[in-house]
Amino acid sequence: MNGRNETEADAGRAIGRVIVIGGGIGGIQCALDLADTGFYVYLLDKTHTLGGTMARLDKTFPTNDCSTCMFSPKLVQAAGNPNIEIIPSSRLLNLTGEPGRFTARVEKKPRYINVEKCIACGQCAEKCPEKVPDAFNGELGFRKAAFLTFPQAVPLKYALDPEHCLYLTRKRCGLCQKICPTGAVEFDQQPEMVDLEAGAVVLATGFEPALTVRDGEYGYGRYRNVVTSLQYERMLSATGPYAGHLQRPSDGRVPKKVAWIQCVLSRDAARNRPFCSSVCCMHAAKQAVLTRSHDPEAQTVIYFMDIRAHGKGFDDYIERARHDHGVRYQRSMISQVYLNPENENLIIETYDHHLNSKVEQEYDLVVLSSGFKPSSGSSALVKRLGLTTNPFGFLTADFDEPVSTSRAGIFVCGGIEAPKDIPETVIQAGAAAAEAAVVIQAGRYSATFATEAIPERVVEGPPRIGVFVCHCGSNIAGVVDIPQLMQRVERLPNVALATDFMFTCSAETQPRLIELMQKYELNRVVVAACSPKTHEPLFQDTLRKAGLNPYLFEMANIRNQCSWIHSHQPQQATEKSFQLIRAGVSRALRLEPLTNQTYRVDPRALVIGGGLAGMSAALTLADQGFSVCLVEIDTHLGGFARHLTETLEGDSPQKLVRILGDRVRRHPLISVFLESCLTAHQGHQGNFRGTVETKDGGNHQITYGAVIVATGGRAYEPREYLYAEDRRVLSQIELSRRLKEEPKWARGLKRVAMIQCVGSRNEEFSFCSRVCCSAAVKNSIAIKEINPDVQIVILYRDLRTFGFKELYYLKARQMGVMFFRFIPGDQPQVYNDTDEKLIVDFTDRSSHQAFRVESDLVVLSSGMRPHTGADQIAPVLKLPRTQEGFFLEAHVKLQPLEFASPGIFLAGLAHSPRFIPESLAMAKGAAQQAAKILCKEIMSTPATVAVVDPDLCAACLACVRSCPYAAPFITSEGVSEIPPAKCRGCGICVVECPARAITLKHCTDEQIEAEIDALLE
């Protein structure tokens, strides 16, 4: 390790360190976002490991990606980052000082195993006689009192459970201490107090299922085959109690009929949980889909009230679950689950409207979609910190400060703020990092360690290849015969070492790999595991640390391309694995070391779009000391929010527009271009050049290191329901403006009908617009407050007032607003009858009764659309979009803020329909991602670029024409040249070149041919 970059800050200057509490995905992402922008992070977790809720998930919606496979690289990054100090088993007791200079008293609980000495051999757990219900697996299986929470735990060190260890409870046994080969067991460890200095604190303590055995809902804890959704995740998981083979707890039988009950301890005012937990609708759909993929014969039924698929692409997922996977949805809430004593099946009684009778359905397994509450211990922590929570213990943030708490310098992200899914957590994590960075920006680089430059070994002599084969839990090892495979791999030519690991990617495997590379003097490495797309950078970094050039590395994907798709043919899968590895080894023989090129970074940012998201992103960066160029297509700053009068919670978007607009205009580091757009853009991350064209035709050349796209949204202009034909038909936005300007007008209303999903969730536009249900609820309350006698009827498909917005839905109902569900396809009809009455006819979905409202006013909840500015900018920046026109992020789960093209980031309505605080969080989060580039002086380009052999080049221009990035050009010598900084390594020119003059480094013909030959041998 090198020393600190600078000496400790002068007195009075902000401390460049942050305490992040909670090691789930939120805490880890926040820590990474801070550590990569020049700050030092203490990452605290109350348990023995990082991981949180995400570590317990099997797969994630809407892509069905393996949660561990996505999350593991994050864990590894956090573990390997020299500027993140992980402090497990700890809690913050007291915080004194002020923003910029806090002192935290932290208690480290004893682990009873010395982490310096523990080599995670697992002998203690193997020999430990005390079995304990395994909380990580939802108590469906057992672990020992000496245990490792899960195989990818960080740190990968065992621990003793003081409540169950025989020695710690009764001074008996002590077997682990006797057998530990390194003497790591220390029964006499005591709690330890440390004082940490930090400039800011982020709370990311997360949530947990609200349902406990004590609640007794639906026989949970009473009937063995009733489980919570989180338990079911473990049941599905390869690392779970049943090793990924779905079975039910009572008798190990494969469940053939599984039911999900939604809204358990959610939307339940009677049990003092009147809010919606936001994520359960989607995870139930996912679990049902996965159940069907485990067993295509299985029947899956989801009992629900409203399907809350309010996220990007979520409705498509639900449609696929229904139609492609045969998941049955039944809108009916269950009161009680009964047991069939003969087989421990569960009986659910519902009333069937079509049959007019009670129907008893028997299920093998019932999964309760339990709502969420703040994770245990967080209420005490919140109290110690003196923070204000909402009535349910969540640290809900304010409208204009989406990640702030009631105490300056303490920020919040993730499930403790409100129940939310992974991408929203990642977004908030970025925002919290950004807010913390603003507070302590003067301390940037004052407390960090630079990455250690490790001298590279010179590769000489015959190739010595190391092959590391991954079990991926049971993902690979459950199908492929690993011992047999290893025997054959060992015998391949030039293989100096072949060995296998449970999880080759886990943080604790990496030092072991380094050790083996050095011990066996390996000069090529092949990892046979999963996809290089996700894991190559991780292993390349390990090679770097071992002093090997990272390009001397090759992966064989024996999971995605083998064990997963051939899961029913183990013998053939083993054979194919061997062939894939043989091909990898053959290619590895021909690999050569390559060197990255470096360049200086332009520390300025370009923000496209001057709405709330754009302004907020610009301010976040400017407040961290970066210059920003803000380009707005319109005559004013403010965007869509300029049209919005008031939010459901009573905040004023227009006031926020004024405040942010004033700050943007006055900020010395922000230059604003109104009525302008970016018309040209070239370069690469850290080093872009572009042209801003103003209305008067002026062209401004600008340079920048990063781009944030915040082109915003607009309202859908309805073509249906007599809109713009009858003046009694309004949009929600028009209605709220009218109510604001002329409240008395509402007193004359007798009957109002509102129609939801106008221009949303249909064939033309499949997204849910997320905000319209809340808009209808807000306006109906506003009308009722002025005129309590008015009859308001809201026609909806699914009422999606998720999270704490549900409280307003309840309020609207209590005020007498009536909600009816209509059937998509049997749309309400709006027409004028002969007496010029405005009539709304519809069929109530639950009673199948046809109703009519003679309405004074019909209000359309018209959806959201991306702003037309997106059409202009998409080709300039070459950005992908969804069918609906929203921009497509790099990864829907873990990279919601960035595009696949490095250096370009995404915020606000340009991403998807969202609420203002969500847009603001996204803007701050995107700014923080941009800061990761802007704060660096020097960056490097990858070495996998195309190079032209000038002797073979005929200057035919094939490469110039075919390159999508406009990289090649013809030099004064009359031959083609490709600047490495612009080349993206796609290889198109290599294929196009008729003279075969172009070679793609790291993908040479020789290497590829050797690989193919070996594969077909």
């Binding site: 009677a270 009859q791 027409y831 006819d841």
Partner: protein
């Protein structure tokens, strides 16, 4: 705004096809407010999840299901409710109220509708049940306590009851049941009395003071 002839035909045809289409929003919220006031039940809060109807052991026998009762109250459909079998068939087992996530006192609402029906001129859909409740109170007024044998006898003496029971064959079953109970010593022929029966009768006299 102009309406073309074609539009008019379409509108007319819609009116015909909608035959049983019911107008809503035309009754105001007076009935809802009255019911909420009189029962303290949180009726407006209902979100029609149907937990009550799924929980109800007798929803099969109800013409208006429990969740619809709540909806009808919201819509002001008083008469439909008072004419329903539902309000008499309800067991007051409180499953609906217990499981309601919105703290709607469904059972109490139904019970209150039952008492409104008893006070109204609307003939009860389940006559025997209605007469039974009244007979019970009559017996109570007579002795201060209720004797099962006397209660049954008094019920059968109410106009039309015996005839109806004979017609349906119910009487035969009842006699059979009575004999079984008698043989087992479960029927006591002598009613016990409450000494201070006057106090009870005074209560009946003051019944007009019902909360309204």
């Amino acid at each position: 705004m102009e309406t073309t002839a074609k539009d008019r035909t379409e509108i007319e045809s819609r009116k015909v096809s909608s035959g049983k289409r019911r107008l809503i929003g035309d009754r105001g919220s007076h009935f809802l407010k009255r019911m909420e006031g009189e029962t303290g039940a949180n009726i407006a809060a209902c979100y029609q999840c149907e937990r009550c109807t799924n929980a109800c052991p007798v929803s099969f026998y109800m013409d208006v299901k429990p969740h619809q009762v709540i909806r009808f109250v919201q819509l002001g459909w008083r008469e439909e409710l008072l004419r329903s079998a539902t309000i008499w068939v309800c067991l007051s087992c409180e499953m609906c109220t217990t499981y309601c996530p919105n703290e709607v006192a469904v059972a109490e609402t139904i019970l209150h509708l039952r008492s409104l029906a008893a006070q109204s001129t609307i003939a009860p859909r389940e006559k025997q049940l209605a007469v039974f409740h009244q007979t019970f109170l009559d017996e109570l007024q007579r002795f201060g306590r209720v004797n099962e044998a006397w209660l049954m006898a008094a019920l059968n003496l109410k106009p039309g009851i015996l005839k109806e029971k004979m017609r349906s064959g119910q009487l035969k079953t009842e006699i059979e049941l009575g004999l079984t109970l008698w043989r087992k010593g479960k029927l006591k022929l002598l009613p016990k009395r409450c000494e201070a029966i006057k106090e009870i009768r005074d209560l009946y006299r003051n019944r007009q003071g019902d909360r309204s």
